[in-house]
């Protein structure tokens, strides 16, 4: 038995859970209901301007990266609960996909 390095995975999971809880629903409301209904319009110029701003980049990155990590860690633990093994393959798949999403988000934001 030795002290685990789990906090490395758990802290962003916990932060992501809070961000997901506070921000994700309203984002889905916007893109999934209000925009399709025509109540809101996400004009390219406005969104791109927000993403061009460094603070906007940080906010957008946080709103995407933290919940993605949260999902990855939680799905890894759930896979174990469902008897799908807690092995290397599951860990690589979960954190790998999340890592990829986070990387792509960062690259896209830096390019705007």
């Amino acid at each position: 038995m030795a002290r685990s390095n789990k906090p490395l995975l758990w802290l962003p999971f916990a932060g992501g859970g809070l961000v997901a809880a506070l921000i994700t629903p309203v984002l889905i409301l916007i893109t999934g209901v209000l925009v399709p209904l025509g109540i809101l319009h996400l004009r390219y110029e406005a969104i791109a301007a927000f993403a061009h701003n460094p603070i906007g980049k940080v906010i957008l990155f946080g709103a995407v990266a933290l919940p993605a990590w949260h999902a990855a860690h939680r799905l890894r633990m759930t896979a174990h609960d469902l008897g799908l093994g807690g092995g290397f393959a599951i860990k690589t798949a979960c954190y790998g996909i999340a890592g990829l999403l986070i990387l792509v988000a960062a690259v896209a934001l830096l390019a705007i």
């Binding site: 859970g17 809070l18 997901a20 809880a21 506070l22 921000i23 994700t24 629903p25 309203v26 984002l27 889905i28 409301l29 916007i30 893109t31 999934g32 209901v33 209000l34 925009v35 399709p36 109540i39 809101l40 319009h41 996400l42 004009r43 390219y44 406005a46 969104i47 791109a48 927000f50 993403a51 957008l60 709103a63 995407v64 919940p67 993605a68 949260h70 999902a71 990855a72 939680r74 799905l75 633990m77 759930t78 609960d81 469902l82 008897g83 999340a98 999403l101 792509v104 988000a105 896209a108 934001l109 390019a111 705007i112």
Partner: protein, 128 residues
């Protein structure tokens, strides 16, 4: 007298044996939908970086019937995540004020207030 302890196997369907475990599994699977929606947002960021035409295509795609259906599912599970997350927060972070514990319901209510505030700010920023 010889001992021969009997070990009962745990089945893969253990979580179906009681409602509390089924609810737990649903709670955990909310993260699948949160993750999938994040993937949608990442696609959006990529399209945003590719210019107006790409962005407009992205908006059209997520506004399609399939896009809306998928997002409504995500919204349902995202809300369930929020509700269950807030309910559990007082257990993880008990607060003391002047040597008395703050009632859990106050901590939960503060989270709902924050949820409402953040939502309103985002809606205003999006142009409501």
């Amino acid at each position: 007298m010889s001992r021969r302890p009997y070990i009962r196997k745990v089945e893969r369907s253990w979580w179906l044996r009681q409602p509390r475990y089924v609810l737990y599994m649903i709670r955990e699977l909310t993260s699948l939908f949160v993750g999938l929606y994040c993937a949608l947002l990442v696609v959006g960021l990529v399209r945003l970086s590719q210019g107006q035409a790409a962005w407009d295509g992205f908006v059209a795609a997520f506004s399609s019937p399939l896009g809306v259906a998928f997002q409504l599912a995500c919204l349902t599970f995202a809300i369930y995540h929020s509700v269950t997350w807030f309910a559990l927060t007082p257990k993880a972070m008990p607060l003391m004020m002047k040597d008395e514990p703050v009632p859990g319901i106050v901590i939960v209510a503060a989270h709902y207030a924050a949820w409402a505030a953040v939502s309103i700010v985002v809606l205003i920023a999006a142009g409501i």
